[in-house]
Every structure is written in C-alpha cells, then in structure tokens.
Subunit: 381 residues, 2 copies
C-alpha cells in the first residue's frame, strides 16, 4: 500500500540519513548469509544505504520484488517468508510458513507469493499485501524449481515423486494440474526468458526434461540424454543452479554437472552443439544483457575466479580473479555493470562490463545473493 | 539527485493528494498530444495520479526514463527536451535544443541523453542530471532511428545522406564513427532486443539494411529486397514505426508498408518465411511479453481495431475493437495487462492479456504514446 507515511518514516529512520531515497528503480538487496540480514544498496550511488536485520536463516535464500519495486519478499531456508519495505527499511510482514523452504515466486500481477517447501513439502500461496495464506497445495514430496508463469500461474517439480505441476489462480477457484512425469529426482528447474519452456534438471538419472508451457497439454520431452552426474565424474562440490542457465544467440548454456565445462544447446533442436572448457565447475552462468557474453562463476575450491565466454564462438575471452569465494553475480538491467559478492573478502565488487575493470566496492557481511529491483519486471525468476 | 526534499514536496503538491507515491517501479506517463501535457499513471492502481503541463508541442513525442525510474525525459516535436520528476510531478529541467526533434535515447549508465534532430539536423547529447550540452554532432542531414547501445554509445541514421553513425562516450573524448552507407532515405531504424543488430527501413528504395553491432567494423547488409513502398501499393496513411517491430520465436515481425499485412522474417537467415493478412495497415506490432502473441494496431481510417497474432502459426487469434483511434499500446513489463490509448474517446483502456477483456479505463486528453517506467531497464528504446 502506498501511503504518505512512507515519506514521514524516511525522516525518522536513522539509517536513511546517509542516502535518503524515494525512487526505487535502482535499488537492490544483498543477502548477508551469516547474520540473517539484508543490505539495501543503491545502484546509481554504488553504495549501501541501510541494513535490515532479523530475517532468520538466510544460508540459502532468494528474493522477488513487488511491481512498484518497493517491497522485497525474502524466502529463507528456515521456512521464513519476510516482506521488507525498501523505503522505510523495515520488515513489513513476516511468517514462518514451513520448516524448510527452497524458494518462491511472485505472480505476474504482483498479487500472489508462492513458496516451495522441502519440509513438509508442497507449495503455499500468500496474499502479497498481507502474507495471509490464500492457497495450500500440500504434498509429501519436496518441491523444487518453482517459477511464475503468466496468467496468475505457478509451475514446480517434485524431488521424491518426479512430477511437474501447475497451479492456476486466474479464476476464483485455484486449479492444480499435473503436467507429467519428468524423471527421477529433479533437483532444479528453470523457465526460458520467453516463458515458453520449463526445463528440469535430474539428479537420479541422466537427461534434461522440457515442457512446452505455450501448449495446452504438452507432454514432457527428454533431451541431452547424457547430461548429469556419472560415477567417474569429479565429485560435485555444489549442484549448479539451473536458474543460472543463460539464453543467448538461439542457445541454452548449461553447466556440466561435476565437470569443468559449459554445454551449448541449440534452442530449436535441443541438441548439444558445443562445449567450452572452463576454470572449474560452473555454478551460475549469467548472460550479460544486450551483449554476446556470459559470465560464469565456479564451485569451491576454485571460486576465486570468474570467466567471460563469447556465445558466438564459445571461447573464453576473459578470466578475472576478483576476490575470495565469488558466490553470485547480478547485472545492471541494461548490462553496464556487474556486481559480484565476494563472501570471504566481505565485499561487493562492482565491475564495468565493457572495460572489465573494478569501478567500486561496498563492504558487506558474508554476502551471497545480490538482487536488483529490476527483477520485478521479469518473468520466471 | 536524491534528496529528502522529494518527500517534503509530496506533502506540498496538491495533485498528489489522490495517490501519494514514493515507489516508482509501476508508474508511467501518457502523452496528451493536443494539450502538450503529460498524464502520470500508476499501473498498480490503474489510475491517473497527476498531470504535468507546459511541455510544448507533443504531437510527435517519445519518452525515456532514468535508471531509478524517477525522471522521464520527453522529446517533443518542437525540439523541446524536458526532464520531468514523477515524484514531485513537476518539470525539473527543460531546454529547447533544436527546431524540430524526432526522438532520443538514454545511455546504458543513465548519465547521457541523446536527441536526434530534423531541424537543423544532427545529434545533441546532454548531461542527464542538468541537461547541460556535453556533445554536439552537427549535421546537414535529418537524423532518424537514434538508439542507445551498451557502453555509453548511440547509433543513428541520416535521411538525406543515407548513412549510419555511432558516437562513443566511453572515453573522456567523444568518438564518432561512420558505420556505412545504408541506402536511400532511411525513415526509421530499430535495435534488436539483444542489441545485436541495427535494422534500418528505407523510404527511397526497397529493402531493409542490417548492421551487426557486435562486430568491430561490420558492413551494412541488405535483405528483404522487395520490402518497401511501390507505386501500385495502397496509399501509405502512416509510415509504420520500426520501433514496433517485434522479436519473437526466432523471428522479426515487420509491418508491410502500405499493405494490410505482417511479414515474418527468420532472424538467422534474414529471409521472409510467411505473411499474415491483417485488418488494416499495421502501425505498431508489439510482442506481449512472455507469450507467443504480438498485438497490432492500424493506420487511419481502420484504427478502431487491434488484432492479436500467434507467432507460432502466424494466425490472427483475436480481433478487438476497443475504441476510436487506437494510437499506441504498452504492456505491463511481465505481460499481464496491455494499456491502449484511444485518442478520440479520450481514454486509456486497460485489457487483461489472458482473458482479453477490458479491466479498467482512465480518462485522458487526446492520449497518444503510453510509456511505463519499466522501460528504464531496457536497451535500445
């Protein structure tokens, strides 16, 4: 709710003295995983403008934003769902909605927040204003890969039973549909940038499963039959995030599981077209907006390095060593800068993407995920 | 500049009484062409929250936004460049920078505003904070199709001399480079959504010219050799806007000039793959975000109609008659709604994109262009 009180509260909040802020289009939050706090940052100022504490266990956390880019919804590992007001820099609402949560999403109209749970499993849906429970889809299976789909819909998969489901909130009555059996132990899933294809990575068997969400009742399709973990691979230090798959130049770019490689897949044919040897096991592969480049970070112990790869010829064009334990990368929405979290240096590092030079840094307490409010305007996050 | 004064000014401005607003992510402006005014709208409230007057001749105007989504830059036909503060709802700065201007762009870092001029020709570049002139690229030729390109760069074409140029502001000294000869009388140009290809429509001869902006010194390439106006075509009631080309499913969708058709072009091969007969001469073709659909409006006298076309099979799936003189369409950034300006009904009409039903309307004075602040986060607008 927008009220005049917002502006009064700016005067009262001491943390705002540094950089008072009303416009919200260039704000962001950084997860401080060890302290359960959130650093509020201003992209234009390249500065922290406040800290919000008391958010529980943020050792694995993700964030979505309201359409006005004022509120951040924080999904914590302990099942906590917090609504944070970036203007007053305070917690507007908070609920412990489950025992162990893995992520969430906001509906395309900004009215519903869905959370996917490990413990006790299932999906819960909340009113975005009040965090009141408005939909409960219980399950005995851990849920993974929850994404928003246009039309007040959400899609997710289940680890134990290997299924995918859609919940549709476009009518007064919620409708839940099983989309199909997708394979053994899906560990993460991602929606393509056009919301066309839901891609599911499997842990219990090889291959990737795709579901066409533009068709009424599309069958799951298996591709990349060799993709996944095998016993003679290197140990998997960290499961790659499928949310880190990049979509560029008519391709998907995937992290090879347990190997030092990127896989390039033709988006039309779903066939592998090339591989790129990398410095380590890729974790996030993120497309630099409006450019041919993807940026890649790596699993421990090789996580001091970031590589830049050209999606046209699949070659590494730059290898940077920005700092210790680079856990996440977030681009300015038009690609001018990338912000890196260096957990063990206690810093956010800001690079110009064109010169690839350091242009700023911000102290932070064990920073991990960085989330800019521009995400409010994107589908499938 | 962000100052505490913003918040005080909210209290003082009477127009804000209706819906006080601090967050800016869901705001927008509507050009009121007859009165030279701007209606400030709130997407979440589906309401107007104020009007800003005194912006000169807005009979042909376009708008860009600052990265924090607080300031709108208005490019008016009379050469006026106005910087409008959406929070205080006032004109923060204004300059008459030329006799007749056609559009502008903001650099990827949000620091520079470039304006392309008809009279006297050339391009001028201004400091985004102060509107102080920081770069002047005079020319005897009318400039068209000015776009921002990542790396503090701008690209444009020239009507009289048939050339394309790039200005690069990444170093302390501005550098202007001729990209090539592009054909006779370019009338508009557009950048693909990945900033890869600059596409130029020609009035003086047939064909479309493409320049690869990811290559260092790419040659202009001509394609669609039959595209353009011929003498036996229908009269051209309104030149289509190339900014209305949509990019979807590996295709460009173009308006046929002077004909009742859309052209579908394969993005890789630059070959025409299909045509769709339409209700009238297409003006804007806009992709509904995260969907297979494009929405099309039409030139007078058939401009009471909007059609929705499926990019998979190229078929018209819906024909709507929302109101009189539908001049523009703007989607909510995640595609849940589309806002239409009905000039001769004096209304903004809001449609749900999934039900395709009217869900709201807002009175406006001869509305034309609608611009949401989410554009701040997109390249090439």
């Amino acid at each position: 709710m927008k009220t005049l009180a917002v502006c009064f509260s700016l005067l009262a909040a001491p943390v705002m003295a540094q950089t008072p802020c009303c416009a919200t289009g260039d704000l962001g939050v950084v997860i401080e995983r060890a302290t359960g706090s959130l650093l509020v940052v201003d992209r234009s100022e390249r500065a922290a403008i406040g800290r919000i504490e008391g958010l529980g266990d943020l050792s694995h956390a993700s964030v979505t934003f309201s359409p006005d880019e004022r509120f951040a919804y924080i999904f914590g590992r302990d099942g906590g769902l917090s609504k944070v007001d970036l203007l007053s820099q305070s917690i507007a609402a908070r609920t412990i909605q489950a025992g162990n949560s893995i992520g969430g999403a906001i509906s395309d109209d900004g009215k519903l927040i869905a959370v996917s749970n490990y413990e006790p499993g299932g999906v819960k849906v909340f009113d975005a204003d009040t965090l009141e429970l408005v939909g409960d889809i219980p399950g005995t299976s851990k849920t993974i890969g929850l994404v928003d789909v246009p039309g007040r819909r959400f899609v997710w998969s289940t680890w134990d039973s290997g299924e995918a489901f859609m919940a549709d909130f476009s009518a007064p009555e919620m409708k839940v549909t099983k989309l199909g059996d997708v394979g053994k132990n899906p560990f993460d899933a991602v929606l393509t940038d056009d919301a066309h294809t839901y891609l599911i990575g499997l842990f219990g068997e090889k291959g990737v499963t795709a579901i066409d969400l533009w068709e009424e009742a599309a069958e799951p399709v298996r591709f990349l039959q060799d993709y996944g973990k095998t016993e003679d691979d290197l140990p998997v230090y960290k499961m790659p995030h499928l949310q880190g798959w990049a979509f560029t130049e008519g391709q998907f770019v995937l992290p090879a599981v347990g190997q030092h490689e990127l896989l390039w897949v033709n988006r039309e044919t779903l066939e592998e077209v090339d591989r790129t040897p990398t410095h380590g096991q890729p974790v996030f592969i993120i497309a630099q907006p409006a450019s041919p480049f993807v940026w890649v970070n790596f699993a421990t112990p090789l996580n001091d390095t970031v590589q830049v790869v050209d999606s046209r010829n699949h070659e590494v064009v730059a290898t940077l060593t920005p700092g210790k334990a680079i856990l996440h990368m977030e681009f300015a929405p038009r690609g001018a800068e990338v912000w890196l979290s260096s957990r063990d240096d206690g810093k956010i590092l800001i690079y110009d993407t064109h010169s690839r030079e350091l242009v700023g840094e911000i102290p932070a307490q064990s920073p991990s995920g960085i989330f800019f409010t521009a995400r409010a305007h994107r589908t499938g996050l």
